[in-house]
Amino acid sequence: MMPLAFDLFLCGLVLAVAVAAVSGRELFGSIVFFIVYGLLMALAWVRLEAVDVALTEAAIGAGLTGLLLVGASARLRRLQAPEEETGSRKARAATAIACLSIAGLIGAAVLLLDPRAPGLAPMVDCSLAESGVGNPVTAVLLNFRAYDTLLESTVLLVALLGVWSLSDERSWGGHGGLRQYARPGGVLATFGRTLPAIGLIIGVYLVWAGSKQPGGAFQGGTVLAAVWLLMAVAGVADAPRVSNRLLRLGLVAGPALFLAIGMAGAMAGDFLRLPPEHAGNLILLIEAGLTVSVAVTLALLVVGPPQRDLPHGEPS
């Protein structure tokens, strides 16, 4: 009874925070509730025995998405975009009823599912030994369904291209516009100097440990992106120019390496085939490449489109 009671409590909390995030009066408050919601969801994932997902949700779902939204709301406030809501009560009530019905329909579908269906867990366990890794989620992501992960790494690239294309014509090729808030000697500046080393170790460890335990390229890459962003915001490092050749190589290195390994397999017979005796090493190689690209891409997605080359602290 205890686990179910805890789960009920957790679900109730998640729903309450979600309602707060969606219906709060103030934009910034709603974003803060959203970040809290993300962290609570990470707890829910732990309860579902999905620790890899919990790590991803905490790092990307709550952390990075929250960062994007907070940065956006700050920029909108500087641009003095109006924030008040309009809209009639009747329209909102009708919308609420419609959403309730849809949620009910989906909930009905959930209850109609066979509670004894085994899923693919047994099949994954059977083939786990051949996959080259010990973590079944990593095996699915980077071996059994590696094709999905390859395409997913290019989705990140597309988003970055889109973000970059939104700059001013004049600013093209310049630095991204991340505002720096740090006072020299202040807390942020100190964190900016001490945390990166720790973050680097944690990020690399997450990737390396992802073979046997929860972790992997996306989680580790996000930590590395966060480390770099912290350094940029604290004034310790600088956002590179968009035209930097090395930066662009870093962006495509992961997906390109992944594709190359896949095509090598295709020439030998099967696209993306990882022969069992080399699979472990190949997966580590792919993950290393992906970590670099994911870290660079995620950090640049937060930094945003190139802005004018202005002195420190003044991007619009």
């Binding site: 309602v19 579902l48 109006p82 959403c99 599912l113 597309v158």
Partner: protein, 110 residues
């Protein structure tokens, strides 16, 4: 041990369904684009929770890793979409001074 009325998996699945409804409300009812984006992300995480909960039905076999892997992929896709939308919204605000779509701004529209 008495029969549970609903299993953990079903509970989280229903929670996911409820989150989809809550997020949908935020996505449709608000006019401010960042708030719609928050709603969109809540819908997404609700879908993911529902998906992941279906992997937890036979607990004794261990959690099904396939939905978990797919949810991780989905989270990455969602953050890519969010980042692109954020950049678009900021650009719109830089050009028009408002974070709402034109015909929905008070006094706006053509």
């Amino acid at each position: 041990m008495t029969e549970m009325p609903v299993s953990s998996a079903q509970l989280f699945g229903l929670c996911g369904a409820a989150l989809i409804g809550i997020g949908l409300y935020g996505f449709i009812a608000h006019r401010h684009l960042l708030r719609r984006l928050v709603g969109f992300n809540v819908i997404g995480s609700g879908v993911f929770l529902l998906f992941g909960s279906t992997g937890y039905r036979r607990v004794e076999l261990g959690a099904d890793p396939v939905p978990q892997a797919l949810v991780i992929t989905g989270v990455v896709v969602a953050v890519s979409a969010t980042a692109l939308l954020v950049a678009l919204i900021i650009r719109l605000a830089q050009l028009t001074g408002s974070a709402r779509l034109p015909e929905e701004s008070p006094g706006g529209g053509r």
